[in-house]
C-alpha cells in the first residue's frame, strides 16, 4: 500500500484540479486537452521537458567528474594538497545558485575576454556550468564519505601488492565505494533537476521558462503553474523510482 502512496496523492491532486475546472472563476481552459488552444498550450509547456532533462543530465555528469577531481586530493595526508580542495568546497557551497548563475552568464565571458579567451556563453551552457560547479561541492563530499568508508586496510593491502595510488583507487577502493556513493549521487540528480528551473531567468527554454512565457500571454498563473509543478513531480517521481531501484540493487549486492 505504501508504495502506491505517491501515485494516490498524484491522482487526488489531478481530481481536485479537474473538479475546480467547472468553477467560472478558474480558467482550466488554457490547458484543456479537448480544445485546440489547450492542446497547443500543453504542447508548448511539455516541450520544455527535453531541455530540462538535457540540462540536468549534462550538469550531473560534469558535477560527478568535477566532484571526484576535487574529492581525491581532499583526502591526501599532505595538507597543502588537501587545502585547495577544502577551499573549493567551502567557497562553492557558500554561493547561492542564482547569483552564481548571473555571474557565470554575464560576468564569466568578460573575465575570459580580458584574459585573452573571447568566448560566448549561451543560456544553455551558462546554466550547465553553474549547476555543475554548484553541485560539485556536494558530490565531492559524497565521494569523500564513500571512499573514507572503505577500511584503510584495503588501501594498505593494495599498496603492498605493488599497486600505485591510482590503480588502488581504480581497482580496489572505488569499486567498493561506488555502492555507497551511487544512491546519494542519484539523489543529487533529483536536486539538479529541480534547480535547473533557475535557468529560466537567463532565458533557457526549459519547463519553467515556458510556463512563465505562457503566463504572460494567457494571464492564467494558477492553472499553468499547477501544470508546471505536475511536470516536475512526474519527472522527479520517475527518477526517484529509479533511485529506489538502484538502492535496492546495490543493497542486495552488498548483502550477497
Amino acid at each position: 500500500m505504501k508504495r502506491f502512496f505517491k501515485i494516490w496523492m498524484l491522482l487526488g491532486a489531478c481530481l481536485f484540479l479537474a473538479a475546480c475546472s467547472g468553477d467560472g472563476t478558474w480558467g482550466w481552459y488554457v490547458i484543456d486537452p479537448s480544445t485546440a488552444q489547450g492542446q497547443t498550450n500543453i504542447r508548448f509547456l511539455v516541450g520544455g521537458f527535453w531541455a530540462t532533462i538535457q540540462l540536468s543530465l549534462i550538469a550531473t555528469a560534469l558535477s560527478m567528474t568535477i566532484g571526484l577531481l576535487v574529492a581525491l586530493p581532499g583526502m591526501s595526508s599532505n595538507r597543502w594538497i588537501r587545502l585547495p580542495s577544502r577551499v573549493y568546497i567551502e567557497f562553492v557551497r557558500a554561493i547561492p545558485l542564482l547569483p552564481m548563475l548571473f555571474w557565470v552568464f554575464y560576468g564569466l565571458p568578460v573575465v575570459m575576454r580580458s584574459l585573452g579567451f573571447p568566448i560566448t556563453i549561451d543560456a544553455f551552457w551558462g546554466a550547465i556550468i553553474t549547476l555543475a560547479i554548484s553541485d560539485s561541492a556536494f558530490t565531492a563530499e559524497i565521494y569523500r564519505s564513500g571512499i573514507q568508508s572503505i577500511p584503510k586496510g584495503q588501501t594498505e593491502a593494495a599498496r603492498t601488492v605493488g599497486l600505485t595510488y591510482s590503480q588502488t583507487m581504480r581497482y580496489v577502493v572505488l569499486p567498493q565505494a561506488i555502492r555507497r556513493i551511487l544512491p546519494p549521487l542519484a539523489n543529487q540528480f533529483i536536486y539538479i533537476v529541480k534547480m535547473s528551473a533557475f535557468a529560466s531567468v537567463i532565458g533557457m527554454q526549459e519547463l519553467t521558462r515556458r510556463a512563465n512565457e505562457l503566463v504572460v500571454t494567457e494571464y492564467r498563473p494558477l492553472e499553468i503553474y499547477s501544470l508546471l509543478i505536475l511536470e516536475y513531480l512526474v519527472l522527479v517521481l520517475i527518477i526517484s523510482f529509479f533511485v529506489r531501484w538502484l538502492e535496492r540493487k546495490m543493497g542486495a549486492d552488498e548483502s550477497r
Binding site: 577500511p151 586496510g153 584495503q154 594498505e156 593491502a157 593494495a158 599498496r159 603492498t160 601488492v161 605493488g162 599497486l163 600505485t164 590503480q167 581497482y171 580496489v172 569499486p175 567498493q176
Partner: protein, 246 residues
C-alpha cells in the same frame, strides 16, 4: 656492510603526537632469517614492521631494505616490490574472487597477462592448499582460509621478505594451525620472515631469533632456546609467564 643483510633498521624513532611509539630501535636481518617479534600490546611491534614497507612513516633514523633506503626518492615503491605483507584482518578485496585477489598485483603492477597471472595464482593456491576455492568470494571462506589466501596473494608478487602482522590473532582457535602450517612451510623454503605473533609454539619451531619489545624499545633478543630457558630481563620473563601460563 654484511652482504646478505637484507634489512637494516638504524636508531628508529617514531611518535604519534606526544606518544613515543618507537625509541632508538636497531635491528638487522640477514637473508633467510626468521625473526619473531613479541611484546605486550602497544609495545610498538606492529608499528615497527609497518615501517619496514613504508605503511608508517618514521621521525628519525633509517631503514634500508635489500640495499634500498626507504627515504630515497621512489624508495618506498621499490622496497614494497620486495616485501610482502600479511595483516591481522586479512584485508582481502571483498569485491573480487579469490583468484582475482591473487592476480590483481601481478597483472597491474607486473604487467602479466591474465593467463600467466592465473597460472601463477593457481600455483600458490595449491601451495596454501585451497585451489578449489579460487572462484569464491573471500566472505564465503573461513577465517583460516582467508588468511591463507592473503599469504598466497603476497607470494604471487615473489617477495624476498615477508612481514606478518599478528596473522593468527583474528582467527578462531581451530583455524590457527592451518595458517601456521603454511608459515612453517614458507620458513622451511628459506623465506626471510618478520613475524609479529604471540604463538610461542611457532616461535620455538621456526624462529632464528626472538625480539622482545616493550614500551617502544627492543628490550631483549636471543634464540628461542636462550630466551625460553632463561630470559635475561625481568620484563621479558613476566611477559612470557603471562602468555605461557595457559
Amino acid at each position: 656492510m654484511n652482504a646478505d643483510r637484507v634489512i637494516e633498521i638504524r636508531s628508529l624513532n617514531k611518535s604519534f603526537g606526544d606518544f613515543q611509539v618507537l625509541t632508538n630501535v636497531d635491528l638487522n636481518v640477514s637473508l633467510g632469517e626468521r625473526i619473531v617479534i613479541c611484546g605486550p600490546s602497544g609495545s610498538g611491534k606492529s608499528t615497527l614492521i609497518r615501517c619496514v614497507n613504508g605503511l608508517e612513516q618514521y621521525d628519525s633514523g633509517g631503514i634500508t631494505v635489500d640495499g634500498i633506503s626507504l627515504s630515497a626518492p621512489g624508495g618506498v615503491d621499490r622496497v614494497r616490490a620486495e616485501v610482502g605483507m600479511v595483516f591481522q584482518q586479512f584485508n582481502l578485496f571483498p569485491h573480487l574472487t579469490v583468484i582475482e585477489n591473487l592476480t590483481l598485483g601481478p597483472m597491474k603492477a607486473r604487467g602479466l597477462s591474465r593467463k600467466d597471472a592465473d597460472a601463477l595464482a593457481m600455483e600458490y593456491l595449491e601451495r596454501v592448499k585451497i585451489p578449489e576455492q579460487a572462484q569464491k568470494r573471500p566472505r564465503d571462506l573461513s577465517g583460516g582460509q582467508q588468511q591463507r589466501v592473503a599469504i598466497a596473494r603476497s607470494l604471487c608478487m615473489a617477495p624476498k621478505i615477508m612481514l606478518f602482522d599478528e596473522p593468527t590473532s583474528a582467527l578462531d582457535p581451530e583455524m590457527i594451525s592451518e595458517v601456521l602450517d603454511v608459515m612453517v612451510e614458507l620458513a622451511r623454503d628459506g623465506m626471510t620472515m618478520l613475524v609479529v605473533t604471540h604463538e610461542m609454539g611457532f616461535a620455538r619451531k621456526v624462529a632464528d631469533r626472538m625480539v622482545f619489545m616493550d614500551g617502544g624499545e627492543i628490550v631483549e633478543t636471543g634464540t628461542p632456546a636462550e630466551v625460553f630457558e632463561a630470559p635475561k630481563t625481568q620484563r621479558f620473563k613476566s611477559f612470557l609467564d603471562k602468555i605461557l601460563q595457559h
